[in-house]
Symmetry: C2
Amino acid sequence: MNDVYILGIGMTRFARHKDTTAVDLGVSAVADALGDAGIDVRDVDAMYAGHVYGGMVAGQSVAAGCGLAGIPVVNVENACASGTTAIIEAAYGIRSERYRCVVACGFEKVSDRAGMLAPADDDFEGQLGLVFPAWHAMRARMYMNEYGLTREQLALVAVKNHHNGARNSKAQYRNEITVEDVANSREIASPLRLFDCCPKGDGAAAVILGSKELADHAARHSRTVRIRGMGLFSGAADGKYSALFEDVTARAAQTAFDEADLLPEDTNFAEVHDCFTIAEGLRVEGLGLCPPGTYFQQLEEGRWTTDGRTPINPSGGLLAKGHPLGATGVAQLCEITTQFRGEAGDRQVKKADVAVAHTRGGSVPGTEGGSCAVVVCMAD
Amino acid sequence: MNDVYILGIGMTRFARHKDTTAVDLGVSAVADALGDAGIDVRDVDAMYAGHVYGGMVAGQSVAAGCGLAGIPVVNVENACASGTTAIIEAAYGIRSERYRCVVACGFEKVSDRAGMLAPADDDFEGQLGLVFPAWHAMRARMYMNEYGLTREQLALVAVKNHHNGARNSKAQYRNEITVEDVANSREIASPLRLFDCCPKGDGAAAVILGSKELADHAARHSRTVRIRGMGLFSGAADGKYSALFEDVTARAAQTAFDEADLLPEDTNFAEVHDCFTIAEGLRVEGLGLCPPGTYFQQLEEGRWTTDGRTPINPSGGLLAKGHPLGATGVAQLCEITTQFRGEAGDRQVKKADVAVAHTRGGSVPGTEGGSCAVVVCMAD
């Protein structure tokens, strides 16, 4: 089984890209990643493209736009976990020696869609009003009752991630905010306010994955990033899941850590699916980085900031960097690689040898949730 | 590298399923396939779900509806090649020993979509009027000029496939038609008439793939089907492609035959992407089953009927069995398995040891086409 290396990264700024198509965004990110890897297009064997609204052959269009027309392309769709799913499927292509070099990319144009993201036709909970903001609001309220979470602690997630996003040139929001700004922002679904929710935006990200042989050959960067463990699951339906503990996150994380032969406590920093402030806490707890019910206390104590013991979302996360669905998971790997290389500037974490990426998305009534994907990376 | 076996198959009838959702169709097909395989749901490791319009976590919904909630699910979208792509990705999961047992399924609800299938936003050729019927009409006209194809020969494809579909209880159209019926049907894009075009319809299909160990253990059927070779490509952009020869089909076929260590002439029968009558000829020629420009002559001579030397589309193909996009490629593997088992009744082919499945779909301007997938199966 081949090890999998990240040879190059590329991403657009996450923003409202009014006059650019999803495919154009994808082409830009893939071209940047090819350049960063120093790989010739003839060395690329295949592409996995993660997107939700891109259309039936959007990945093939991106490939054609990058001089990669002809290669095998698979469009992958797993809601907000689409990008990470593309990475996992691409990485298995390297692991299994099916391919030597694979592009994993994600792209999305969301800003031209009216209103919030609509629930799927068969998501009757969503159709009846239990859309994502409402669901996360209920979880926040339950967490408050169970663990004594305060409204101010919740706001600190947005404050931290905006602090990081302000230091990331690719982020959609580059302004710092205060607890008061969160408290004064428009109410969305009590207790969640506007700054508790990630924005709508457009963007693309790409990584070039390759075998060790290719990584050694192409080595152009200070440090090499190896994908050590991966986990992909859909939510269970055994009735044991809880709104306060993300079993699907825990299962995907355990598989990924087991594969990597690492423990959650080995994690130096993580990029986590913070679609809402409450979600960051629940997902960090689900990943096993702290016990259930303790995330927000440790947030107040400074553990999760870029100069803390375990920085969470140094990129700014979904809350500040933005969330163009399919691009999100791939952008997390771009951030991890940037941090491993020590090129993250003002948001550089102190120790970057082991990092975790996590996305989760979609809703299937009667189960714990749609899809969850976790990737564990290690410096080589 | 593990060999890949088809342990079980299931499909709905292809039809206008007015009151059934795409997910419900998928659940029905997967449940049937699990029953046919005699596999317990706890033995299933993962699912790949091919669909175009299913939505962001439709595969996860199908899994949950079959008692498979919790497993890794990947939704795969490659236009009309989505189902075969799901099969190829699932089969690589077995080959690479990532999984022991994987469900590959495809499902689609098309009948509730108004009008023809709309071209993608970035398919400017389609937006300008070069939609699929128009493109295939131009190819038919060129073929007529180049090789002397007659309008009657073209009609014989529809006549043959309706003859087969009339003998398939899963087919959308179960009536035989004549050359006159084709000639008298409504003109769509000259020279193509209504019966030269596949219908809109809904449906689902599923196959259970497993390792040899599992195939031996689960053996419940007279014969075992092994997936021997697979090819997946997107259309090239090197300007060498021709409207009269499908380079992307030829490349996917060559990879699949090479992997199988077989030649095109070893093929006993094939399921081919006959979205239009002209397309069947071009694809059979692209697969290498006969030289370019000879398909229709050999059609008149009877080579491609179920009692001919190399039956094409014994199931009825897209023209008669129907074409619910994501389901199509998976249904081809169901037909191949049924034929290998000798259970195809009135449409049974004489020799069923080596068979080929082929789908192609999508359009990317500036390249030869969207996506093409070929699978070579062999009796074990």
